[in-house]
Amino acid sequence: MNLKISALDYVQEVKNGNISAEDFVAKTLERIHSVDEKLHAFLSVNENAVDQAREIDKKIKSGKKVGDCFGMPISIKDNLCIKESKTTCASKMLESFIAPYDATVITKLKEQDAIFVGKVNMDEFAMGLTTEFSAFGPSKNPWNLEYVPGGSSGGSAVSVSAFECVASLGSDTGGSVRNPASFCSTVGYKPTYGLISRYGLISYANSIEQIGPLTRTVKDTAFMLNLISGVDSKDNTTIENNNEDYLLGINSGIEGKKIGIIKEMIGEGIDPAVLSATKEAISKFEGLGAICEEISLDMVKYSVAAYYTITATEAGSNLARYDNLRYGYDFPVEGYEFNSYISKARRNFGPEVKRRMILGGFVPSAGHAGKYFLKALKVKSKLTKEVNEAFEKFDLLIAPTVPVLPFKLGEKINDPISLFLVDINTVTANLTGKPAISIPFSHSNGLPIGIQILADSGKDKLLLQAAYALEQTVSLPEVPI
C-alpha cells in the first residue's frame, strides 16, 4: 500500500473502494512504529485509530453518510485539545494533563470522519523554532537526522514529510507552521488572522497566533481549510469565510498578477542557496505571467524585536495560570507557603519558557513599557500600514520562508539572537494578520528550501491559487527515510 499519497488522493481511493480506511490507518501506525524511534515526531500515538477506521469502513459499506475525510489519518500538534487525550504542550508542567474538551478544529474534523493518529512534538508551549525546547527531546529532520526539523510545529512537519500521517495541524505564532514546513519540505499555511478558531488551542500569544495545516500539497491545504475555517461562537476573534470553497478555481493561474519581492527579506545574512532558490521562484512566477518588482518594507528590520516583545508579554500573562493547583503534575502542597509553592512548582517549566516569562514580566513593567512594549506595538502598527500600502500596489508578496538552510541540532541553541533572526521572514505575517504559505521549492546539499508567499487579509483563496501555480513548476526528490 502506498502511504505517500496526498490527502485528496487518499479520499478518492477510499471513495472508489481501492483501499480501506482500516488498512491505510493500520499501515500508517506500522510506519510510525518503524520510523518514529529515529524521528521522534510523536509524543503519543492513538492505538485505537485502527478500530476507529474500521467503524468508518462500516459506515461506507452500509451506505451511511460519511464525512469528507473518510478516515484520513491526521497528526495534531500537542497544544490542541482532544477530549480525553493527553495534551502536554511538550512541557513537564502538563505532562499528565488530559483535555476535558475538544478544540473547535478537532470537533470539525471529527464531524468529517478524520482519524487522529497521535499528538506530535513541539517546542514547549510553542516557544522555539527547532523543537529542541521540547521537554521530551527534539524531533529530527527526516532529510538529515543530524539537523533540526524547524519549529515550533516540528513534529507536525516531520510526521507529514516522513509519511507518518497524511496531514497535520500546527499553530503559527511567528512562523511555527511555515518554518518547519520549509525545513522538512511540506506545505505550511498561516491563514488570515481569525479565519480558523483558536478555541482549544493552548494560548501563547493570542493576538497573533493561528492554527494552520501542514500538508503534502497546496490542494490538500485548500481541502483542510474548507473543513476547519469559519466563524466560531467560542472564539470572538473569528471571521466569516463566506462558505468559500478554497479548492474551487485553485488552478486559475496568476497571469497578470503583481508580486512584490520584499527587499529586506533577501538581504544581509541570507544563505546563497536560499537566495538563488528565491530568484528561481521569482523567475518561474514571471514565466507564469506574473509581474514581479522589488518593494521595501522598512519596519521588517524591527519586526523580530517587536514580535518577541509582544509575544513574551502575552506569554507572561497566559502562563500565569500554571500554578500547579488547577493544572499540573503531582507535587503535594503540604509544607509550603502559597507563593513559594507556586515558584517551586513552576521550576518544571523548561529554560526557554522561563526566559520568555522573565522577559514577559520585564518589557511591559513600569519604567520599561514605553521603551519596549509600547514601542513594539507602534512598530506593529507601522509595519501593518506599510504592508497594507504594499497590497495597494501588489496582489502578493514573496520571500524565502527562512533565510537560512536547516541547521544542525545544538548549533544555535545557546545563541538566542541567532535563533531570533531565523524568524525574520515569517513574523511579518503574524504581526499584520496577513495569510502566508510556505511551499517546498528546492534543495541544497539534501536540505529543503521553502518559498513564502503572502497575500492581503481575506485573500486566502488568491494565495492558494498562486502557491498552486508555483508548486506545479517544481519536481522534488523523495524524503530519504
Binding site: 502559597f338 522561563k354 526566559r355 507602534k378
Partner: protein, 89 residues
C-alpha cells in the same frame, strides 16, 4: 541597559525559581539588549492600532453546564474544594 537586580526582581514577581541564576540573567540580558534596536525604529509619533470587537459580537454571559465534574480532574481536591498551600507560614 538592564541590571541583574532588575531581572532577578522580575523573575521573583513572575514566580520563577531559577537555580543557575547567572546563566539565566546573561541570556535574558542579551535578549533585552537586542530589543534596544526598537529605539531606532522612529515610531514615537505612531498611533497604536487596536482591534475593536463590538459587544454584540461577544457570546452571552450565561451559565452553560459542563457534562463532567472538572474538579475530579485535579490532583488535590476535597469535595468541591481545591486543596491549596496555606497563604502564610
Amino acid at each position: 541597559m538592564v541590571t541583574e537586580e532588575e531581572i532577578e526582581h522580575v523573575s521573583k514577581l513572575m514566580k520563577i525559581d531559577v537555580d543557575d541564576h547567572k546563566e539565566y540573567v546573561e541570556k535574558v540580558h542579551t535578549m533585552i539588549d537586542y530589543f534596544d534596536i526598537l529605539d531606532s525604529a522612529g515610531v514615537e509619533s505612531e498611533e497604536i492600532s487596536v482591534q475593536e470587537i463590538p459587544i454584540s459580537n461577544l457570546r452571552d454571559d450565561k451559565y452553560i453546564p459542563f457534562n463532567q465534574k472538572l474538579i475530579e480532574k485535579l490532583k488535590h481536591y476535597k469535595g468541591t474544594y481545591v486543596r491549596a498551600p496555606k497563604m502564610s507560614s
